[in-house]
């Protein structure tokens, strides 16, 4: 395309008046369809990520509506929408039968699991059975009429005779794990960031940062497996508590997952502090550690705060580690050596065997929307409040 345009101009200048003449017409940008199309296409694709956020919020929230509806209506809808829609029961967790007794210490298993998933169950579910189920539901539903208020109760027994969906034990469990994880991860990660930004020689720093960031690349299922197989036994021998899998083990495992997050952001915040700060401090006779602790660290506080916030967000939504290492019993005691069940783990463990459209399904999606809103707000705070503060602080406005 290029050479052609070039030739054209040459020809024009030869034929027309000698010398170059530009008119307003010739200088105007030519309309090219390919340009126009490319720009519009690229712009619309770029909006995809904004649309995604909205879509995620919309659909996760929409699916949680059954939790607010009365039971019989949900049953009709479900019958209509998914007559044979049972494949969600394929080989999921074994917790469904008796979550009351599921301690998680010895993984419960039903031997017939692999055979019952998917298709087999479908064909077994004859039309009669569907009708029967539908007939049974409303009577069940009367018991659950007020179950939305049970969200604030203290019991999470979603699949018992009289299902109760108390979210309090799940919240307590999640907070406990998050707190333990942060107690370990935050100091370690911040100290490590301080070392690599202020004390380490530059050649060492170039090695430390990528190495720690490799930890971020470890799949959470691998960290969960390590916690389940190695760390749980090791810590139990060390502290001698009773349940092998508990919020303490889970918290430490999640600390491993959040350390790289906190480290990276803290390190970036610390290195972003202008050199003039450090130089001024050193020129006044402060030593290197004094400069690091009394000048660099305070100047970077908003960034460190953001780092810890994002670390909290990481732990809050972590599913696989929670499923594997926390024991998965919905207890609401405050003892750190008790098994807990986190919000995210509840979704992961139970979604596979709920019936589409019923109360349990809705409650799980409701938990999902809460997690999403929580994470969204954490990110928004980290983004706007903290960044604005950091910029102000550094520029001294």
């Amino acid at each position: 395309m290029l050479p052609i345009t070039f030739k054209k101009t040459v020809m024009n200048s030869d034929q027309a008046t000698p010398g170059l003449s530009f008119t307003a017409e010739s200088l105007r940008k030519k309309f090219r369809f390919s340009e126009f199309f490319a720009e519009k296409l690229i712009t619309s694709v770029a909006f995809l990520s904004i649309a995604l956020i909205i879509l995620i919020f919309f659909f996760v929230f929409r699916e949680s509506l059954p939790a607010f509806k009365h039971r019989p209506k949900a049953t009709i809808e479900e019958q209509k929408a998914s007559a044979g829609n049972k494949p969600e029961s394929y080989g999921g967790s074994a917790a469904e039968n008796k979550p009351e007794t599921y301690s998680g210490a010895e993984p419960v298993a039903s031997a017939d699991k692999p055979e019952t998933y998917g298709v087999v169950k479908d064909s077994a579910l004859t039309a009669d059975e569907v009708n029967q189920e539908a007939n049974l539901r409303p009577s069940e539903g009367e018991d659950n009429e007020g179950s939305l208020s049970s969200l604030f109760s203290n019991e999470w027994f979603p699949v018992s005779e009289n299902p109760r969906y108390g979210l309090i034990p799940l919240f307590v469990g999640t907070l406990k794990v998050t707190l333990i994880a942060m107690l370990f991860a935050a100091p370690i990660a911040i100290f490590a960031a301080l070392f690599s930004s202020s004390f380490a020689p530059s050649w060492l720093r170039e090695w430390i940062k990528p190495s720690i960031e490799l930890l971020a690349g470890f799949p959470s299922v691998v960290i969960g497996f390590f916690a389940l197989m190695v760390m749980a036994t090791f810590l139990q021998n060390l502290f001698g508590y009773e349940t092998r899998l508990n919020s303490f083990v889970g918290g430490i495992a999640m600390a491993l997952a959040s350390i790289p997050v906190i480290y990276t952001i803290t390190e970036d915040a610390l290195t972003a502090i202008p050199a003039s700060y450090k130089e001024a401090s050193l020129a006044l006779g402060a030593s290197r550690w004094q400069t690091a602790v009394f000048v660099t660290l305070p100047a970077a506080t908003p960034g460190i705060f953001a780092a810890v916030l994002l670390g909290v967000g990481r732990v809050f939504g972590e599913t696989m580690i929670a499923l594997m290492a926390t024991g998965n019993a919905a207890l609401s005691g405050l003892n750190p050596f008790e098994s807990v069940r986190t919000l995210a783990a509840t979704i992961g463990a139970e979604m596979a065997e709920v019936v589409f459209g019923d109360m349990h399904y809705g409650v799980l999606f409701l938990i999902g929307s809460m997690l999403f809103i929580f994470n969204f707000s954490i990110n928004a705070i980290a983004e706007f409040y903290v960044k604005g503060k950091l910029v102000k602080k550094i520029q001294g406005k």
Binding site: S34, A192, F199
Partner: protein, 301 residues
């Protein structure tokens, strides 16, 4: 004199504590690697990698899980890389740095990067399976159940959403390393903006697109939560042949074997070997990405 000594002690302990933190983190990385290698190296063999599970997953290999993971990340990359690259091009070439559109997109991308992976799983279930899938079944198949259930396509697309920010960030970083003079030279020669992007900017940032793809694949290979209810299966006797089939996955295999199986102790070697395979896979992918990226950063300097 006394103050000086006290200062020295405090300073020394702070420096020691911070150095110890680094050593602790690096130590944990090494321990995880060593433990998995020791636990899995005896079971790991060519046969283990290329055969099916046998005797109710008590023996045999993990080939279907490797195959399923590979298919998952390939379809995921096909979906995520073009969209990620185009978004990055928009952010660097078309949008004004300070415009509210660019700011909002950046915020959305960063939010996407921090959304918990389980939420993507829920979204995949609610959007792809129950909305798009059910819609496709209604419109094209007359209500016959085909797409409104977990399968490879929905799992991969859900994973693609999760890895989209990874691609965007890497490509954006790479595009910024293309010198402005090259762009200006191209424009001055009469090339249009789109021609410049196609012939100058994209070839110059190919290594960044590579890094982004590798990082995304590494992330997608290791994540389990998004596919829990959008396509993964516990055990399949046959390999998936179309995108509407379910699939097995390495990470899910580890999870199921270590928590849901009836005899965890007996299958311990298989679990460790599977973990070793997954860890080696993601570790080498991440290492490659780090190496390419550090070369890129050096070029920028």
């Amino acid at each position: 004199m006394k103050i000086r000594l006290k200062n020295k002690i405090i300073g020394g302990s702070i420096i020691t504590a911070s150095a110890l933190s680094v050593i602790l983190i690096l130590g944990i990385i090494v321990i995880i690697l060593v433990v998995t290698i020791i636990g899995g190296k005896d079971t790991l063999s060519w046969k283990f990698l290329t055969t099916f599970p046998e005797e109710g997953m008590m023996k045999g290999g993990i080939f279907p899980a490797i195959y399923g993971t590979a298919l998952l990340v390939i379809i995921m990359a096909i979906a995520a890389v073009p969209f990620g690259t185009i978004t990055a091009i928009y952010l660097t070439e078309y949008a004004h740095e300070k415009s509210w559109i660019a700011q909002t997109i950046r915020f959305a991308v960063r939010t996407l990067a921090t959304v918990p992976s389980i939420i993507f799983g829920l979204f995949g279930l609610g959007f792809f399976i129950k909305f798009v899938g059910a819609g496709m079944d209604n419109w094209f198949l007359g209500g016959q159940l085909k797409w409104a259930q977990p399968n490879l396509l929905w799992g991969s697309l859900t994973m693609a959403l999760l890895t989209l920010p990874v691609v965007i960030v890497s490509v954006e970083e790479a595009i910024r390393t293309v010198p402005r003079e090259l762009r200006e030279a191209s424009l001055a020669l009469g090339a249009t903006k789109w021609q410049t992007i196609k012939k100058v900017v994209l070839p110059g940032s190919i290594s960044g697109i590579m890094t982004g793809t590798i990082l995304a694949v590494g992330r997608g290979a290791g994540e389990v939560a998004p596919i829990l209810f959008t396509g993964v299966a516990y055990y399949l006797a046959t390999l998936p042949t179309s995108v509407s089939d379910q699939f097995m996955n390495l990470g899910y295999h580890i999870y199921v074997m270590s928590t849901q199986s009836s005899n965890v102790d007996q299958t311990m070697p298989i679990q460790f070997a599977t973990t070793l395979v997954l860890l080696m896979l993601t570790f080498s992918l991440n290492l490659t990405a780090v190496l390419i990226r550090s070369r890129l950063r050096r070029r920028m300097k």
